[in-house]
């Protein structure tokens, strides 16, 4: 009897966790695409003239889900196999996301090799994309697909090398221990390995660039009814995979460089007089209360009915979050750590994604050859040099008792100097080849 209960419990936990992750990822995808539109709009780009708002975004998602389900129900192999293949990439995203930990005890899967596991899942996702495309259209221009896969793979190599600086500093590949090391050392690894973070950001922007662009395109380009086009359902789901890729990349950057679930000044502890409530723990509820008030005021002055409703919903959500975050302040410390940890993690992820989209909208899109060459001539060598520089900084700290600030400054300066030399070298090479226009 207890065995059956054990199995039931395991299945139930896995099932509920998977549903939660999928719901969260879908919400994240909608948020990212709306944010992307808004940024493009604020730049006044031509393709963004017809603004896509939240209801339309939801409608498109529902449409793609419908055609996805149609693929599931279709009996002939021509539809079933591409459906299965695109399932691989989404499932890989889900399991990778499930292995992130959002708080000291808030996680679904506790891997102690989380970093490598997430990269492995990323390769699985590439599988899904490649297969989905190859199956659904027999004569698809596969060269473009191969170039995309190659591009993602080369920039993923750059991103992996950039993350190695975090591994060196913490001495672990477990995501939880990396965060714990940042608490121990009293500094986010962003401050100890700034070059590593910048390289990570650069490689993820360049690597995800072309893949996720379709999400920002207009509904006109995918036809009046995307479901009618053969194999069209992989269009939204291809970009869904890319957006999940972006979300997971943000989670990794937050964990490795921005201190994961740690709040800013995590080692600073000061209590309100006479209470066990810590000073800085009051910040999240206050921020949420301010957001709720702001959204309420915007909603009252808004003309458009849909936006008005959306703003009041946002205000209600922030008010609810305020109640939760403030209420948990009086709970045991473990509960505070869990809830506030998740809050900080998500807030940092949101900041990272916003910065990512903001930067990407301002960086011109290059053609294929150039970013790949930049990756192999510049990014990957620099990432390798950065690994050595971070290790050297660690040695100077531990053996010669340099202060962290001094060693980081010196080593960052050396790495940046080499970066400038590499860039100049690369440029002279480019003109010598005379390949690029």
């Amino acid at each position: 009897m207890s065995q059956a209960l054990e199995i039931l419990k395991a299945i139930a936990v896995g099932f509920l966790g998977a549903i939660g992750v999928v719901a969260f990822l879908l919400a994240g995808v909608i948020w990212v695409s709306v944010m992307d539109r808004r940024i493009a709009q604020s730049l006044g780009s031509e393709s963004a003239q017809d603004a896509i708002n939240l209801p339309e975004q939801l409608q498109r998602l529902a449409l793609s889900l419908k055609s996805y389900m149609r693929g599931l129900l279709a009996q002939d192999a021509g539809r079933f196999l591409p459906w299965l293949a695109s399932l691989i990439s989404v499932a890989a995203g889900v399991i990778a996301f499930a292995s992130l930990s959002f708080g000291p005890a808030v996680h679904l899967a506790d891997f102690n090799t989380g970093l490598i596991f997430i990269f492995g899942a990323g390769f699985l996702a590439i599988h899904g994309e490649v297969l989905a495309r190859g199956f659904s259209v027999q004569n698809a221009p596969l060269a473009g697909l191969a170039r995309n896969a190659m591009r993602v793979a080369s920039f993923e190599a750059g991103a992996a090398l950039a993350l190695v600086s975090g591994v060196i500093l913490s001495g672990s590949i477990s995501l939880k221990q990396i965060v714990a090391a940042q608490l121990d050392q009293g500094a986010w690894f962003f401050f100890l390995a700034p070059v590593g973070f910048l390289l990570y950001l650069a490689s993820s922007i360049a690597g995800i660039d072309t893949v996720s662009r379709p999400l920002a395109r207009t509904a006109v380009e995918c036809g009046e009814n995307p479901a009618d086009r053969p194999g069209a359902f992989r269009w939204p789901f291809g970009s869904l995979g890319a957006t999940i890729h972006l979300l997971i990349g943000a989670g990794l950057a937050t964990t490795v460089f921005w201190g994961g679930w740690l709040r800013p000044f995590a080692s600073f502890r000061d209590h309100f007089a006479g209470t066990p409530v810590e000073l800085l723990d009051a910040m999240p509820p206050l921020a949420m209360a301010a957001t709720a008030v702001y959204c309420r005021r915007v909603a009252s002055s808004e003309k458009d009915a849909v936006r008005k409703q959306l703003m009041s919903i946002a205000s209600a959500i922030s008010a609810g979050l305020f109640v939760i975050l403030a209420g948990v302040l009086f709970a045991p410390p473990a509960a505070i750590a869990a809830v506030h940890g998740a809050f900080w993690f998500l807030a940092k992820m949101a900041v990272y994604i916003y910065g990512f989209l903001w930067l990407r909208a301002r960086i011109p899109q290059f053609r294929f050859g150039r970013p790949i060459r930049a990756a192999w001539n510049f990014l990957i060598p620099l990432a390798a040099i950065n690994v050595v520089a971070v290790a050297a900084a660690l040695v100077t700290r531990e053996r010669w008792d340099w202060s962290p600030a001094l060693s980081t400054l010196v080593m960052t300066a050396i790495a940046l100097g080499i970066a400038i030399w590499l860039a100049l070298h690369d440029m002279s090479q480019t003109t010598a080849y005379g390949v690029e226009p």
């Binding site: 199995i7 490598i116 596991f117 599988h127 297969l131 190859g134």
Partner: protein
Amino acid sequence: MFLDRLLFDFFAAIAAASALAMVTRRNILHAAILLLATLLAIGGIFLQLQAEYAFAAQLLLFAGGVVLLFVLVVMLLVPESLRQDASFNWKNYVISALVLVALIEILALVWARHEGTIWPSVAALPPNNTGAMGDALFRDDLLAFEFASVPLLATIIGVVMLAKRRTE
């Protein structure tokens, strides 16, 4: 305990079934996907044996690297006519039957000779053995680790030579 049993049976059944389907499949692309399924099931067994590092490396190198190479090569380079290939090398049938019999015989022999011995029961690896892996790789067995780079270097040189010859 029961959950362990269930998981092992599940993964072992998937691995064996998809391996069998892989070698008998007509379409190479389908075979590649079945190879991926086999490798993922084997990864599940690694995880059950608390070999988390091996699991992650398997996902990255085998499932990610190797099978992705197969898929890309088949899709981009193998001509359509060769993707459906049901030809079996029947001359090898006899040889392989002999090899199979020999292997089973070896197994039976080993089994018979060690009839009395009891396999040592499964010792408990520390649940957190990734650190031990690091110690072993970079301290105890450093020479082996360095030698593992020799075939990798040879591969890089060989692949570069192949690519060079083709573009010239």
